[in-house]
Subunit: 332 residues, 2 copies
């Protein structure tokens, strides 16, 4: 059986050879339909590019380790899909580890992946101690995806633009006529960026005094408790922007319990566009991180570092969009 | 630094040495509080049992591969927790692979794990072709967890008792006075067992003629579409038992859209007790698979096969319970 060539892929996808090669390097210059056609053709044929094959023959396992922060919050699913699309087209497999589970034993959560000699590591989400990845990054390429913590030298960061996302959410609510708007805040750099941008947007619209910020632990339970407190106070907000979808679901529950109808009495915006936000029963207006794109770019960073290791770490931000659903409406 | 011994674990947990050893073998004869105390002490001390150490020195990677069916349905999270608790106490790590992602490329989804020479494989959920695991099972121990498909020789199966779970759900609804009850059915052996048990329970209560069964693809979308059809028909059911939580969420959405209040006008029961069912905003009555227990038993099967490989595959069923929440009420 002959190995499929780049010509076979181009033929099957109905595009030129140079376009195939652009796609496999993860170029942004290709239209999504073309890109999908090429990746599909490459997968169907089991194509493996020469360059990747060459670089991989010096590597060990053709496997990329993916360290997930916590499997219980499903925001990472689209990111994995994006990561996978490009890695698989380049003949690489993904293995996952759940940092929350490994953390319990006090070991470094990346250890099981490193013990198995993965060729590269993608860390998805915020780890408690990202600095510890420095030692790993001296041995294999490391990319942080979907988090904004300070990265050790030589580690690439790919994430959504949190400041822009939070601004979209705040401007959507202000545009609907809301004035007294609360933000259920989170922690870490992502939490700080979203909160700071919410406050700056309120200030820019002369609403700094009407902004309310309450901290939370970014869970449903935390969003619920904070909101019960917020909505029972004297000057009730008419809209809540939560740091993530899980906390926003908690806001929905609190509103329901206090007899407020969403969106008639209270508008709610989340962040992440998780599968839960898309459930018809929830149907939450939320910021879409373009996680699929973040995953694809993270894969590209890794592939580039396989080709030519070394060099300073770079930061790439993907542009989020607002997904308007049923939880927001004009201010009462 | 001295390696911690079984005596150290016993001391820290405040129990006897023989109790520690029972727990580490995964015995059912130990009360849950004691078991948790021992596992916690073992983890905190970084204890590794001699027997496991001995058997592992002949093995290769101290890593167990876990093949997940599809990361998008969160029912497996508790199962992983249970699996992890016993594996980690025995010095073993878990690595995960998403069969849905690997499937796309047409390769065997277990390949990436096997290429890295995991010591054992746990398959979580229903795979399209479990028979393909036969070749794997000749090389390393394989356990199927949370699925009931026919297993190849030498493969252990640990799952919830689906017939009992479906009976609990149906009897709960019948006990609330519902007579016309619909079942949104699923596929695979699990789907068959739940449907069969629902029908048998209805028959036993003289309600065979009032039972309605509609097939679904076990997704939210599928549950939604089926329910819209069901509830728009002439003789509307007053209760729906869905094959899983995802389909049940679709039932909730359909009811909402048709102006029916849950549980006043329609009672809904799911299956799996996923994190989504536990959200206050959803608060779904559902069958709990005791997935943590299923995971723990799957780990025990694997540990036993490390100690003494070979022998016929066994089937173990864990006993489900009914988690009554806000989506069920007496018949209108």
């Amino acid at each position: 059986m002959r190995q499929p060539t780049i010509r076979d892929v181009a033929e099957r996808a109905g595009v030129s050879k140079s376009l195939v090669s652009l796609v496999l390097r993860g170029s942004d210059q290709v239209r999504p339909e073309k890109r999908d056609a090429v990746l599909r053709a490459a997968q169907e044929l089991g194509y493996r590019p020469n360059a990747a094959a060459r670089s991989l023959s010096e590597q060990r396992t053709r496997t990329v380790g993916v360290l997930l922060n916590d499997l219980r919050n499903p925001w990472f699913v689209d990111l994995l899909d994006g990561l996978n699309s490009l890695l698989h087209a380049n003949g690489l497999h993904m293995l996952l580890a759940d940092a929350r589970l490994n953390r319990r034993t006090g070991q470094d959560p990346a250890d099981p992946l490193l013990d198995l000699r993965v060729d590269g590591l993608v860390v998805v989400g915020t780890l408690p101690d990202p600095a510890a990845l420095g030692a790993v990054a001296e041995r294999i390429p490391v990319v942080l995806a979907g988090s904004r913590e300070p990265a050790p030298p030589g580690v690439d960061v790919v994430a959504g633009d949190d400041e822009r996302g939070a601004r979209l959410a705040a401007e959507h609510l202000i545009g609907l006529g809301h004035r007294r708007i609360a933000h259920i805040a989170g922690y870490g750099v992502v939490g700080e960026l979203r909160r700071g941008s919410f406050e700056a947007t309120m200030l820019r619209h002369g609403l700094a005094e009407r902004a309310v910020v309450e901290p939370s632990d970014m869970t449903e339970e935390g969003g619920y408790r904070t909101t019960v407190r917020l909505l029972s106070g004297p000057e009730r907000p008419t809209a809540v922007f939560a740091v993530n979808d899980m906390a926003a679901i908690g806001v929905l529950s609190a509103a329901e319990e206090l007899g407020l109808r969403v969106p008639r009495d209270l508008s709610v915006v989340g962040y992440d566009n998780t599968s839960i936000a898309r459930l018809r029963h929830v149907w939450l207006t939320t910021v879409d991180n373009t996680s699929h794109e973040v995953g694809r770019r993270a894969a590209r960073c890794l592939l580039e570092r396989f080709e030519g290791p070394g060099g300073a770490g770079r930061i790439q931000l993907a542009t989020p969009t607002l997904e308007i659903r049923g939880s927001t409406a004009p201010a009462p």
